[in-house]
Symmetry: D2
Subunit: 134 residues, 4 copies
């Protein structure tokens, strides 16, 4: 069982969504941030650097938004829809763009295929959480 799920099962506060949906989002956000950090570094190691610049910027943006979103949705007790909802919408948008950008490089760079998968999973998990949040 993931740490996120273990924490939600032992959390003394109130959760504003189904615990399984929330844990899946926290795990996907953490994995996506980690994948984007790794893909930025791998992109910087490629020969066709000029073609990778857009992908690098998208990965940097995706790292920042996923990291912040993981923090905000982990703190459920002062949950505020006016913060969490637009943040999750920004996160869906950057995961979509970053996933699209990485997919374009996937035929030539295996690391971009791995990053695209992490972005797709995170986009999906954040959409599910947006639907599930009260």
């Amino acid at each position: 069982m993931s740490y996120a799920r273990q924490f939600l099962d032992t959390y003394p506060g109130t959760i504003n969504a189904d615990a399984g949906v929330l844990a899946a989002a926290i795990d996907a956000l953490s994995d996506c941030a980690q994948a984007c950090i790794a893909d930025t570094e791998a992109d910087l190691s490629e020969q066709n650097l000029a073609e990778m610049v857009k992908c690098i910027r998208l990965c940097l943006d995706c790292t920042d938004v996923c990291t912040a979103t993981m923090g905000i949705v982990s703190r459920q007790t002062e949950y505020d829809a006016n913060v969490a909802r637009p943040l999750l919408q920004a996160c869906v948008a950057i995961c979509k763009s970053c996933g699209d950008g990485c997919e374009r490089h996937a035929p030539h760079h295996a690391h971009c295929r791995v990053c695209a998968e992490a972005c797709r999973r995170c986009e999906h998990a954040c959409r599910e959480l947006l639907d599930a949040l009260r």
Copy 2:
């Protein structure tokens, strides 16, 4: 002159807003993140800890959202309104809440007054940037 303004004046890419408004937002976001980190620590040092818990959570959320927003608005070349606008809206919302929360403690805790000022300034600068962004 602040570093943010010096960078925008020497930036080889394209900026999607007035440089003065953007630099003011970057500086306010950086200052607000720093203030919220410091206020979290000061809150944890107070005697009336149970009354400070909400303020601590708001400061933690505000740190995370300001840090991510600073990164996203600093990367202007792949500017995407679908990411930047909801993120700035989330940032306005948490700066408003955190500023309100800190202001309530300002009569008794001078550090909360300082944090409230940083939050108010950041909320205002993010609203201005939302209006200025193309």
Copy 3:
């Protein structure tokens, strides 16, 4: 297979340690940061708040150091022992302290037991990486 291992297996740059040891460290650092964010929030939800303050501060420190260390060891191409080694030493020290602090609360708070496990695993993985790095 974890994302970290998939990235190292497709990384076009040079790795300065055994890929398995490095991937284990990256995964443990990411999990430990996530666990400490969750435990901070759970601690703030407890009744005996005054007794939890030290644990909260250790978790905040551990989050920050693990996050930075994950970034630095993920960027292997400009690897610099003068940066990576003291950072890993700082990370071992805070994971040890935070693990000890959480273990003390483990009999009463199940979330602290989960966090202690993540800290122990991260401390161990960082020690292994320190030994493995050239």
Copy 4:
């Protein structure tokens, strides 16, 4: 007066160094992180991208280490020399490398000159804090 100094002057906890030296370090760490984020973006906008890759990686590392160090030295009450000292040493090392790397590009790229200044100031402020910390 900077926010860092205002917070230290209203901080209810114990400080383990001269308040002026500590405030100068917190301000320099915050500014250096902000400068390195901006310089990464500016570097990615340059034509001679292959020559900028090392500078980009150093700026990414410097952002991560400065951000973590700012958090750790801001939380003075559970100050632990075994964490703070190696972290500050890692920070001095990456600020030195990043400052050197940026200075090499300063004749051609004004943004690298600005970043080099922020790195030099941060390296100096962290050395002063290392000397001042009990």
